[in-house]
């Protein structure tokens, strides 16, 4: 269980969003939505403890996150970001193996059997077993995205935070990744994921957190968040809502 209490997040001298109160249960899939620049990425970085909270605090199973040492924190929460990195001559296996860092004391350099198994499971989950020995630089942007996700999965944490995990992915792979995250949540992992596609979020997440300028506008089930009035408040656009057997979907009005 993650508890966000009166949380304010920001970077440098700027606070992006304040007064966030939310509880995210084990096994829940929460999608974080909102326009560019409202602090979605910074919120995830604050939840995983790599950016300090401006106010309020984050609790993990009743313990203040800031009381945990970096390695202990990384055994509890994994953070997947899609920012690219120059990693010439690292193979896919090497990159995914970095996710095992918090499971090793400093003197233990070699991978052990449980590392091998975790790396294998992570690569299997993102369908990259065949690419294990390929240099990272030879991968497409979609494959690189899957490697970053595999690195997060290899951490084998109860909580998984993902910043736009479907960017760069084609529609089929994007849905495969979201279905994977859904399965992970069904097996008890807490998944918190920044997404831009409102309908993907509604299709896969249990709840949606909608951020607007400086405040959280809603954190509820898709039916109560994907309303034209809330979407207009967050994004400044008008949308039409359509009820489907799978739940509500929204479509932006495009001026002709």
């Amino acid at each position: 269980m993650i508890a966000l209490e009166s949380l304010a997040v920001g970077l440098g001298g700027r606070t992006f969003v304040r007064d966030i109160d939310a509880r995210i249960a084990a096994g829940e899939f929460l999608a974080v939505l909102g326009p560019n620049g409202v602090g979605k990425t910074t919120l995830l970085r604050t939840i995983c403890g790599i950016v300090p909270a401006r106010a309020g605090h984050v609790e993990l199973d009743g313990m203040a996150l800031r009381s945990l040492a970096p390695a202990a924190r990384a055994r509890a929460i994994a953070f997947v970001t899609s920012d690219d990195a120059m990693i010439e001559t690292l193979r896919v296996h090497d990159v995914v193996a970095i996710g095992r860092y918090p499971h090793h004391p400093w003197w233990e350099w070699n991978e052990n059997l449980s590392d091998d198994a975790a790396i294998e499971r992570a690569l299997e989950a993102v369908a990259l077993r065949d690419a294990e020995q390929r240099p990272f630089t030879t991968l497409s942007s979609g494959e690189r995205q899957r490697v970053w996700i595999a690195m997060g999965l290899a951490q084998e944490t109860p909580v998984l935070l993902l910043d736009e995990p479907t960017s760069h992915l084609d529609v089929r792979v994007a849905h495969e990744i979201l279905a994977l995250l859904r399965r992970l949540a069904s097996r008890g992992r807490t998944v918190v994921c920044v997404l831009h596609d409102l309908n993907d979020a509604a299709a896969y997440a249990d709840r949606l957190m909608l951020l607007g300028r400086e405040r959280m506008l809603a954190c509820d089930v898709p039916d109560r968040v994907l309303t034209p009035s809330l979407i207009e408040r967050a994004y400044g656009i008008t949308v039409a809502r359509v009820e489907t057997p799978a739940g509500p979907r929204v479509f932006a009005h495009v001026p002709k």
Partner: protein, 327 residues
């Protein structure tokens, strides 16, 4: 596969070190060298030449080569920049400036290595202070500070050469800048050993974080790396290794920049393979280069730094470009 390559590299490095023992003013057969090595308490001339003249030099060359290559690999990994070498810490420029001014002031030659070591470390502290941001190191600031301070101290060296009244003083400065192991013995190694040991220990402490640092600070923090601590460890380790190397052999370029590239081509970037292979390649290359430097125009010597640049750079470019070419 990697372990087979590792065994081959260890064998080649040992062979290179043994080969380096063959080079020198007196021709000694390999069997006699081997015999002297196996019986260190012999009192023959050959044993004296091997243990008191050649061995310290080969060991120092190997240690310097390994230290510079490890420092280069650490710094390149931390900064995610393949174009940096251990001298980015300002160690060599600071040491060079201090030694040039000391030669100009007539300081006795035996005091120069220690002076260079202290000045190099102080310069590294200055560069680190300029690169500091918050509780960590800003990679861009480090590069800027390293290049700027090095340029400033290079100007001091040029000034010292221009102001030197005697040709001897100017030649001493230039000889030191070109790098040399001439006249080095066990005592020099003993002086540098604590600092080399400390630098190696810090490198071992920082090494597990190196792979994570290569995929970006944010990801490194997310997997539990204390990035600030790792950066300071790497900077301290590289500065100690480079300062001890500079005190032992003057400025030896090329190794800290190029050996990590070659090592990555051989075993990839994973630190647990990269660092030992860098140490082996650096040691073998520096020992061989020193052997060639002292035998190619015997009885005089070529500066090892110059030799490494003349032979090593074209060889590296050939290998690198050949591998880059599509099949």
């Amino acid at each position: 596969m990697v372990s087979l390559r590792f065994v081959l590299l260890v064998s080649m490095a040992l062979l290179a070190l043994f080969g380096s023992l063959l080079a020198g003013g007196s021709a000694i057969a390999p069997a006699d060298i081997a015999s002297a090595l196996l019986h260190p308490h012999q009192t023959s001339d050959i044993a004296t030449i091997v243990w008191q003249l050649r061995m310290p030099r080969v060991v120092i060359a190997a240690v310097v080569g390994a230290a510079l290559a490890i420092g280069g690999a650490l710094l390149q990994g931390m900064l995610r920049n393949p174009l940096v070498d251990p001298y980015l810490t300002g160690v060599s420029a600071g040491a060079a400036a201090a030694i040039a001014l000391a030669i100009l002031a007539g300081v006795a030659a035996p005091a120069l290595p220690a002076l260079g070591f202290v000045a190099g470390l102080l310069t590294a502290v200055l560069v680190a202070a300029l690169a500091r941001r918050g509780s960590g190191v800003d990679p861009n600031r480090l590069i800027l500070a390293g290049i700027s301070i090095s340029a400033l101290f290079s100007a001091v060296v040029a000034f010292a050469i221009a102001r030197s009244n005697s040709l001897d003083a100017a030649q001493s400065i230039l000889a030191w800048l070109a790098g040399s192991l001439a006249g080095r013995g066990w005592n020099d190694l003993l002086f540098a050993l604590p600092y080399l040991g400390a630098g190696t220990l810090l490198a071992l402490l920082a090494a597990p974080a190196l792979d994570a640092l290569r995929v970006g600070d944010i990801r490194a923090r997310a997997v539990g790396v204390d990035v600030d601590r790792a950066q300071w460890l790497i900077l301290a380790s590289t500065s100690l290794l480079a300062a001890a190397s500079v005190a032992l052999a003057g400025m030896i370029g090329f190794i800290g920049l190029i050996v990590p590239h070659v090592a990555r081509r051989l075993v990839g970037s994973s630190a647990r393979f990269l660092l030992p292979v860098c140490a082996l390649l650096g040691a073998a290359l520096c020992a061989l280069a020193d052997a060639i430097a002292r035998s190619i125009v015997a009885p005089s010597e070529l500066p090892i730094g110059v030799l490494l640049a003349f032979i090593g750079v074209p060889a590296f470019l050939y290998l690198y470009l050949r591998q880059e070419r599509p099949a």
